[in-house]
């Protein structure tokens, strides 16, 4: 018997054949009043930098956050306007080729992306590889990540946020603060393998 058939046979023999009803009494909607304020509070708690601005101020805010970066990597679908105030070199991924990992890892490189949805309650940004986010390596290898969130993308809790994703079979990355570890005496310490600096621009209006 193949391993597959044998394992399935054992599972069939062992499983309790009683149907189980699954209650879902937990909150489907978070109910927080000011989602943007909650998101900002949670992001700050995880040591992200946060800037709130209106749409007119976006390019200036992004340029300011990127002032220390000599090169900015951007996914091909990130709007031109986001970078119109930035003076340094811009590398678009996939135009015409994918950037090499070495390009992403070079000193002074930052990355600018959007996100699919944000979770206010937990301070989480969800990236789903959409055109303004690109492939997963982009928001991973550079040491500095700037992420643009529009207020309309902010959901209350985890259930609302996951339900908003258009296609959950796309590669998904949930990001809550800069990379961190709890491995030394069980305290959270920021700054391990992922970007050590996470800046979030929340665009209101």
């Amino acid at each position: 018997m193949s391993a597959r058939d044998e394992v399935l046979r054992r599972v069939r023999a062992a499983r309790p054949a009683v149907p189980v009803a699954v209650p879902r009494e937990y909150l489907a909607v978070d109910g927080a009043e000011d989602l943007v304020a909650l998101l900002v509070d949670r992001l700050l708690d995880y040591k992200a930098t946060v800037r709130r601005c209106n749409p007119d101020e976006l390019a200036g805010t992004v340029a300011e956050l990127l002032s220390g970066a000599s090169t900015v990597v951007a996914p091909s679908g990130a709007p031109e306007g986001w970078l119109s105030g930035y003076q340094g070199r811009v590398l678009r991924d996939g135009e015409p080729q994918q950037l090499a990992v070495a390009d992403l890892d070079a000193p002074g490189v930052a990355v600018l992306t959007g996100c699919a949805v944000a979770v206010a309650r937990t301070g989480t940004l969800i990236l789903d590889a959409g055109p303004d986010q690109g492939r997963r390596a982009l928001s991973l290898v550079p040491d500095h990540h700037v992420c643009v969130v529009h207020s309309g993308q902010v959901a209350g809790g985890v259930p609302e946020a996951l339900a908003r994703l258009a296609d959950p079979t796309q590669p998904l990355t949930l990001i809550s603060g800069p990379s961190a570890t709890s491995d030394i005496e069980l305290n959270r310490v920021e700054g391990v393998h992922g970007p050590r600096r996470l800046d979030v621009v929340v665009v209101v209006g």
Binding site: V22, P168, S182
Partner: protein, 471 residues
């Protein structure tokens, strides 16, 4: 049939006695477990629907166990359709053989690993090493344990038994320089050490926290970004997944992504969670393998009371609140699954040797049950295993002696008198505590592992005789 690193080499009492002698270990454990307890209570306390989430989490897992054959087949079909290759393994040895062959096929001699209980359980690193393949652990705590040539002592934080200065020492011995023993400096040293390995790795190996049947997606929950590196940069990704990790739908994650981070690291959300479904052209590994492992899970599934252990999402909250774990640490349990969950999971999955003492490694205080995000009634399973499993030698001998004495009234009266005589000199030492640490043989068999109450000054029969003049 099962195997791997879940079978203890020594009985728990022997191992525990040795670990208890290490004062530094106890101090480290105490500090870490108390830090995390407070954090967990804080973030759980701010969730108004926590009990409802726990109930749903438990029910979803029970539903999975009752429909497991169908859900496994569904997962296999969806993952395959998404471009992954699904393999099956009956036990640890078979799982190791499958993975080793897959790595060999790529020609790679080094793999980068995301922390995974399943690969520790099956002893994958040892198997790869025997095949001439270097397995590099990339999780900070796993790296510390690997560099120290030690074994993990906690599900989530395998190096919980080391404090910062010990970690720096281990790093320095292995040529990683950290300027100070400040945690950020240690994290920086690990980042520099692993960077080149991530960027050049051709094969990544992971486990999975969840596997979604309806879509074929796998989920890895982590903190440092080492997981994202391993899941994204290599050409080939091999994930080793226990068959109980299945969830029916993507929506079910809305429950577990709330329960898990708050229960494990005491955070509202862990820094990074990755989901991938088979192969995505142009993004991440283009060759994706999934190895579904039984290794004793079906034996556990067959037990009406014990099967609830398979709900476990490996958050480690039960370890962090356990008074026994806090004192003896993870190594005493002799399995990659220590603490309360290990005490019920290891003996059920392996059913072997020294593991039989594990159900006794608990005071039945119930703190683990209260903390468990999927409501596993660990004390209930412990008692069940004590009743069904063979009893440890000492207890069996004590019970035999006791039943011999109790079968005959004269023998019983004589034994009680002997106990009283033996206890008389210590009565004044015991004072108000009213217990005695060491009774004379054969009752010493009993007191070698527990205190006994002092024998009463008079037996009931003697009291009755003096009160009523007849026995």
């Amino acid at each position: 049939m099962s195997g791997g690193n879940i079978v203890a080499r020594r009985p728990f009492p022997a191992a525990a006695r040795e670990e208890l002698g290490d004062a530094q270990l106890r101090a480290n454990l105490r500090k870490a477990t108390h830090t995390i307890r407070d954090k967990r209570l804080r973030v759980v306390g701010e969730v108004p629907d926590w009990e409802a989430l726990r109930q749903s989490g438990a029910a979803i897992k029970d539903d999975v166990l009752s429909r497991l054959p169908e859900l496994l087949e569904e997962f296999e079909a969806t993952a395959t359709a998404a471009g992954a290759t699904v393999h099956w393994a009956r036990d640890a040895a078979e799982a190791c053989a499958v993975v080793t062959q897959l790595v060999r096929d790529t020609g790679a001699t080094e793999v980068v690993k995301v922390k995974s209980m399943a690969t520790q359980e099956i002893g994958l690193n040892e198997a790869l090493e025997a095949a001439g393949i270097d397995a590099v652990e990339t999780d900070l705590a796993e790296l510390i344990v690997q560099l120290a040539d030690d074994t993990p002592s906690h599900i989530l934080v395998p190096a919980i038994h080391y404090n910062r200065s010990q970690i720096r020492e281990i790093f320095t011995r292995n040529g990683l320089s950290a300027l100070t023993d400040d945690p950020p400096a240690l994290a920086e040293a690990a980042r520099r050490h692993l960077r080149a390995k991530f960027l050049s790795a051709r094969v990544g190996i992971s486990g999975a926290n969840f596997a979604v049947a309806e879509s074929g997606a796998l989920v890895v929950v982590e903190s440092e970004g080492n997981g994202r590196m391993c899941l994204t940069l290599p050409e080939t990704l091999i994930s080793v997944v226990g068959i109980e990790k299945i969830l029916p739908t993507f929506r079910d994650l809305e429950v577990f992504l709330q329960l898990l981070p708050r229960s494990s690291t005491g955070e509202r959300m862990n820094p990074y969670t990755s989901l991938w479904t088979g192969v995505t052209p142009g993004d991440g590994p283009q060759t994706v393998h999934i190895v579904l492992v039984d290794n004793g899970r079906t034996e556990t599934l067959a037990d009406d009371v014990g099967r609830q252990a398979l709900r476990c999402i490996r958050c480690s909250a039960c370890l962090n609140v356990c008074p026994v774990y806090e004192r003896v640490g993870g190594h005493a349990y002799g399995s990659v699954y220590p603490g309360p969950i290990g005490a019920i999971l290891s003996p059920q999955m392996s059913g072997e040797g020294a593991n039989r003492t594990l159900p006794y490694a608990s005071t039945l205080c119930g703190a683990c049950y209260d903390a468990c995000p999927v409501q596993i009634n660990i004390p209930e399973v412990l008692v069940h295993l004590r009743q069904t499993g063979p009893h440890p030698v000492a207890e069996r001998a004590a019970m035999r002696a006791l039943s011999w004495a109790m079968r005959d009234r004269r023998r019983y009266t004589a034994a009680l008198r002997a106990a009283r005589r033996g206890a008389a000199p210590v009565r004044w030492v015991a004072g108000r505590r009213g217990t005695v640490r060491h009774l004379p043989w054969p009752l010493s068999r009993w007191t070698s592992t527990r205190d006994a109450p002092l024998p009463a000054k008079q037996t009931f029969r003697e009291w009755w005789a003096t009160e009523r003049g007849q026995a």
